[in-house]
């Protein structure tokens, strides 16, 4: 799948969505295009390329370079083809002697203020200015080079990933427009007028501006003015391979632009179904961890976690692991063994791992990290709508009139989708935000939420009850929809429940900390404002009533008829890249692929026949159960792939205690992560650049991951699992990840039509993909819910037991930021640390003042689970009584404080609510001191392993 780096046609202006066709003639060729297309777009469609510099089809036309002028029969002058719309019967000429003169004249002006160092320029050969100078036949610059110019302008290299060299700038504004139109950050402007016009960011440079380093401007720049430092370093890439970002659940497609085995840059694919050519700082730039020095590429084993590691060959490592598993199996029984996969694994990796646990070991003790994030989504949506997945495609938001964001922070957590949402909001869609914190969407350039329901952490279900109350008591129910599409009985029950006075906004206002009139107004807006879509995140799921809230959301969507078409729906924003996929792949202890329960005989029979082994009908252990069992001495061996439970799971001390209690912990990862410090076998993993497979994003989009370089560890991850399985006496014979996907397709109805071949053809595909929907299903539940009739559930609010009291008077809630990703194992090993060096505690000025805390002070945060220390950031983003932090750095120990409280239905931890006390302190906590000591010791053990002398 190697492609040239300039593989896409640039039509100059965005495509028109009109259904009306217009026919015109361009240079004698007749062409029909949708009404509203530009002449330039039509020309390119007709195979005629018109010179251009300021136009590119990701941006609205601007009309500033004046290279694209054309002649139109019967019209005066020389209209710009990028800004002139087509009209029936036009006769357009794009090449005439007069046009050639004008274009050459314009080009001569450009070059009169441009350095003459093409040959030594970083984009030599990949520069539109250079191309255009050639295209218009510029031969000399009669103005000379002694006139006024910008050649001495200073370079801005402040951003770690790209540089800005204004001496090469042609002031086409593409960067400014990209930042506005595509990213929606408005970090750039053109400063000055006339000849003095120049691109400006922030007060001094990019790093001190609003820039979030998404790279859109760099991509839009036609010259070497804004350019990736990696291109300056390595030169223009030779070829490109399309793959998928390994960070968040947006699942952006990227073209890995390569020079041999060297990734030169990652360019968001123009045809990416989820991202349409946009990216965020992580996917675009933060891939350097793949070659970071901390990466471990040789397998290691050891008897005890107090021993130094021993580097061994793959065969030895696998044989050792297999022998340990067999030993434990014999000694303690199969129930003492389990596996944990990660949402960062490919579908194929998850599939082979659960197959290994189920088929080889004969238990269902397999779980995934989605347990700690979106398990309530799977449960809640399955119960109400019938499928454990979001209902929409991302593009659907462009048809929304009302956007309701609950417990999600799209601009940080799902940045590329956040940008798309912002574009829709700038077009005029209304916005309701329910979040304890003032997330960026509440107020950002050209966007302001209509309602910010600043509720107290832990009161989500009260919020949904209040909104439901308004909908049912103010006659806002779409009754015809409910009658036709839903179970009427369940609706009536829910209606009567919601109508109870204790569920009214007035009754719940105090508990929520939100004025009743805001609740009423927001509910009315949601129910009557046109197409209304709900987007939610971990702020919904990571609660003791996470599943209840998901069902509550589905209730109001059904009641108002906001399901089953574009612009509406219930949309979980998945945290990690493959949360959806790993759940789809049967990674949960109670389900096979496609959410089929292990107790279902027919499904089990299907898998038994395919796998040739008897399978257990009993659901296995969930992660928290495994940990509890370990502490009880009943769980002894864990195969953990790509997941770092010692950092990401709640109550860290409980987790590490459990790990210490096991006899064989096998960790497969790129780095010595926190869990690996408790491991006995370390299988070095391959990065996403080194393997093949698929990821499934938040909109059920299956996208290909393609290997662009040889695995540094020697093997793709599924191969490691297959080898382990073989060593355990169950040979897995796959030649390539595509063979695994074929097996998944054969065994999973919703994946029936998926194959690598199809992905090569279509780029990506949204499941269900079967004979009925051979190209996938962007929007679900269109004519009917997957479960037949939609079902309403009563959502009684039960306050969490995690309450503030005299000892722990504040509520801690957690989240993440744009530049870091999850536990940070990858992003911390990139220059993204430039934006986030450490986790800090956000605290309201009043709470800070009460405690004598100043900005930047060390503060101790203690809960009934533990204590840690971070620096304080005083901000009104959080409300009084609430503190907030992120969990990207292990040494901050955010999860030392979180408790093992969890969702009643799925055990998803209550990360979002912990009662804490905050005090000014002078030093780090005991836990942190121990952590430091332990980390130093473990890192030492690895260093000893890499010394040849120690290999015996």
């Amino acid at each position: 799948m190697k492609k040239p780096i300039n593989q896409y046609t640039d039509y100059g202006t965005p495509a028109s969505s009109s259904t009306e066709q217009v026919t015109l003639e361009i240079d004698g060729t007749s062409i029909s295009v949708p009404a509203g297309s530009s002449i330039m777009h039509a020309a390119v469609a007709a195979g005629v390329s018109v010179p251009k510099l300021c136009a590119t089809d990701s941006l609205e036309p601007f009309g500033s370079c004046r290279l694209c002028l054309v002649e139109i029969e019967g019209r005066r002058g020389y209209p710009a083809s990028c800004t002139t719309p087509v009209a029936e019967g036009l006769k357009v000429k794009t090449q005439t002697p007069k046009l050639a003169d004008i274009r050459r004249g314009v080009m001569e002006l450009y070059i009169s203020d441009h350095p003459l160092d093409c040959l030594t320029c970083a984009t030599n050969g990949d520069c539109e200015l250079q191309d255009m100078a050639g295209a218009v036949g510029l031969r000399e610059v009669r103005y000379g080079y002694d006139g006024e110019n910008h050649l001495q302008s200073e370079k801005d290299t402040s951003n770690p990933y790209f540089q800005f060299d204004p001496s090469k700038c042609i002031v086409c504004s593409r960067c400014v427009r990209a930042c506005e139109e595509v990213q929606g950050t408005f970090a750039l402007t053109i400063q000055g007028r006339g000849f003095e016009s120049k691109v400006a960011s922030g007060v001094t440079d990019f790093m001190d501006s609003e820039c979030v380093s998404c790279g859109a401007c760099v991509q839009a720049c036609p010259t070497a003015t804004l350019i990736e430092k990696s291109v300056v370093q390595h030169g223009v890439p030779d070829y490109s391979i399309t793959t998928t970002c390994a960070y968040c659940g947006v699942g952006c497609s990227f073209d890995a632009q390569m020079k041999g085995e060297q990734v030169v840059r990652m360019i968001p694919s123009k045809h990416g179904g989820a991202n349409h050519g946009h990216s965020c700082v992580k996917g675009r730039f933060a891939w350097g961890y793949a070659t970071h020095k901390d990466r471990i590429t040789t397998p290691m084993i050891r008897k005890s976690i107090h021993d130094a590691w021993q580097q061994v060959s793959w065969d030895e490592a696998i044989a050792y692991a297999a022998s340990e598993i067999s030993r434990i199996n014999q000694q303690y029984g199969k129930a003492s063994i389990g596996g944990i996969t990660s949402s960062r694994c490919t579908n194929e990796e998850v599939y082979v791992t659960q197959k290994l646990i189920r088929a080889v070991l004969g238990t269902n003790n397999v779980d995934t990290c989605a347990r700690v994030c979106h398990s309530p989504t799977g449960y809640g949506l399955k119960q109400t709508l019938g499928e454990s997945a979001g209902t929409q495609t991302f593009d659907s938001v462009m048809h929304s009139d009302v956007i309701f964001v609950i417990g999600a922070n799209p601009t940080d957590g799902h940045p590329v989708f956040g940008s798309q949402m912002k574009r829709r909001l700038r077009e005029g869609a209304k916005l309701i935000v329910a979040d304890p914190r003032q997330i960026d969407l509440v107020q950002s350039p050209h966007i302001r939420s209509d309602y910010h329901l600043k509720l107290r952490p832990g009161t989500n279900v009260a919020l949904i009850s209040a909104i439901s109350h308004v909908i049912v008591t103010e006659g806002l129910v779409k009754e015809d929809f409910v009658r036709e599409r839903c179970e009427w009985d369940s609706f009536e029950m829910w209606r009567d429940f919601a109508a109870k006075p204790e569920n009214s906004p007035e009754a719940l206002s105090e508990e929520l900390g939100v004025p009743a009139e805001d609740l009423r107004a927001a509910a009315r807006l949601y129910a009557t404002g046109g197409n209304a879509a709900i987007y939610y995140g971990l702020g919904v799921t990571e609660h003791s009533q996470g599943s209840t809230m998901v069902m509550g959301i589905a209730n109001i969507a059904m009641a108002t008829g906001n399901v089953g078409r574009e612009g509406v729906g219930v949309n979980p924003l998945r945290g990690q890249n493959n949360v959806q996929g790993s759940c789809d792949m049967g990674s949960m202890p109670h389900e096979f692929t496609g959410y089929r329960h292990v107790s279902d005989d027919a499904t089990r029979a299907l898998f038994e026949a395919a796998w040739g082994r008897p399978l257990s009908a009993d659901p296995g252990l969930r992660i928290p159960n495994m940990l509890d069992a370990a502490i009880e001495g009943k769980f002894k061996a864990l195969y953990c792939i790509g997941e770092d439970i010692a950092q990401s799971d709640p109550n860290t001390q409980h987790v590490t205690h459990a790990l210490e209690s096991m006899e064989c912990v096998i960790v497969q990862d790129l780095f010595l992560n926190e869990t690996a410090k408790f491991a006995h076998v370390f299988f070095p993993g391959a990065s996403f650049l080194e393997k093949s497979g698929t990821f499934t994003n938040a909109e059920r989009r299956i996208s290909p991951v393609r290997r662009v370089m040889t695995p540094k560890n020697g093997m793709e991850d599924w191969e490691i699992t297959a080898k382990l399985s073989t060593a355990l006496g169950y040979p897995m014979q796959y030649g390539h990840a595509s063979d695994i996907l074929d097996e998944i397709a054969a065994l999973t109805p919703t994946f029936r039509g998926v194959s690598f071949k199809k992905l090569d053809e279509l780029g990506s595909v949204q499941w269900p993909c079967d004979d009925e929907h051979p190209t996938g299903t962007p929007i679900m539940h269109i004519d009917e819910f997957v479960r037949g009739k939609g079902k309403f559930f009563i959502t009684q609010y039960v306050p969490t037991t995690e309450k503030v009291n005299g000892r722990y008077p504040l509520l801690l809630t957690t989240g993440r930021i744009l530049s870091q990703y999850n536990v940070g194992a990858q992003t911390r090993r990139t220059d993204n640390v430039a934006w986030h060096k450490e986790d800090v505690l956000e605290i309201h000025p009043h709470d800070a003042e009460d405690r004598g805390i100043q900005e930047g002070d060390w503060v101790g945060i203690s809960s009934r689970a533990g204590e840690t220390v971070m620096r304080a950031l005083i901000t009104e983003r959080v409300q009084p009584g609430v503190v907030y932090t992120t969990f990207h750095h292990p040494e901050s120990g955010a999860n030392v404080i979180t408790t093992e409280n969890s969702d009643w239905a799925t055990n998803c931890p209550e990360f979002k609510v912990t009662a804490v006390q905050v005090n000014k302190v002078s030093q780090i906590s005991d836990w942190q001191r121990n952590f430091k000591r332990f980390t130093e010791q473990q890192v030492n053990f690895v260093e000893q392993a890499s010394k040849p002398a120690n290999v015996s």
Binding site: G105, Y143, S173
Partner: protein
Amino acid sequence: MSIKVYVPRDSSALSLGAHDVAAAISAEAQARQQDIQLIRNGSRGMFWLEPMVEVETAQGRVAYGPVTPDDVASLFEADFLHGGKHPLSLGLTAEIAWLKKQERLTFARVGITDPVSLDDYIAHDGYRGLHNALKLSAAEIVKQVTDSGLRGRGGAAFPTGIKWNTVLNAPAEQKYIVCNADEGDSGTYSDRMIMEGDPYVLIEGMTIAGLAVGATQGYIYLRSEYPDALHILNEAIDHAYHAGYLGENILGSGHRFDLEVRRAAGAYVCGEETSLLESLEGKRGLVRFKPPLPAIEGLFGKPTVVNNVISLATVPIILDKGGEFYRDFGMGRSRGTLPIQLAGNLKQCGLVEKAFGITLRELLEDFGGGSASGKPIRAVQVGGPLGAYLPESQFDTPMDYEKFSEIWAVLGHGGVVAFDTSVDMAKMARYAFEFCAIESCGKCTPCRIGSTRGMEVMDKVMSGQNKDENIALVRDLSDTMLNGSLCALGGMTPFPVLSAINHFPEDFGLDKAQVAK
């Protein structure tokens, strides 16, 4: 009864000391216990006579000027309050030849009334157009304007009726009327004079425009250097609101029209209509490409009439007397009158409203009285800083859009600036590039870089470097700017440049014969 004494409050008169004169007259009258009513009127447009004081007498208004405070005592001595003779006597105002020879339609009231007095306005035929308009359908109003032949006076001379019709037929919940009062052309002041001298006529014109196209909100985008106009307009708008001529129910008709003055950003290019709209929206004044026309997607993306002050201020008389009446003035396709503004090296500078068809020579000689310096007039720039320079051989061209266009010149906003034989046309050509470089919004390449390069090449020409090559380069550059620029700022800069080279080659060290272009 007290005697009415008029001292202009027009800012050109103020800059010549009209306030002091007014104060001196008040003081003197008080000292002499003379009962006078001092009225601060607009200017009659004879700047060499400002401050021009008028007194109402039984015979009509008599004028004195230019008056300084020192003259005031002697005026009283000469019993000017009853038209007494004085060295500064100008006789009956209405008989002053300069005024008598004009056809003042748009400027009918300017200098005559008290600008902020609504009663005065109504007493002088004000708001008759609006009353008529309220009896007509929107399309009928538009038809009157179309029939009048009125073309935009802001420069582009686009037929106003056609523009209005486009806005009328554009379906939208909100439409706007925007008055372009950014008057940036050097040597022009007709917009200012009418806003300071007869603000209601503009307010009425905009109100009628609102009725005609279905717009309920108007904005006057006012040049930032016009503080007096700002005060006068705001005061007049207040009065109009109070009297029900503006607001949610105009004269009980059920029609709404709100009006607000916005101060401009202070850049020449913000007078360009799309840049103006950007600026009104609170953004940088960057030119937009067209289409979409502002009439379809204008202010905040809504259908918008953008018209010059004079275009809008001419609407009331058209609606009062009918399109036919207005159309009877003028020649060819240039109908009605044009308020021409004489400036530069002339004996008599000021405002001349004449039907189209008067020649440049008549203007320069009969009205302007020839050059102020006494040297022959060598060149005249018509139509502002982007207008062509005309040599003496073209002075017989009638003021007519098409006739000017035939000689590669423009009428623009009606500014006429005269230069005598001391002018260096090479410097003027360089200045044209310089003006463009200073005022360029910087959006499009031909203007952004071209204007600066133009200055540089002109410097080379003027210092005699490779003259032929560099003149050829100026011509090529002009061609690129003319055909390639996004708006008329860059696109018309070649007019003054090339006309200077073509008509005055000797100033560039070129042979007349060489310049055959």
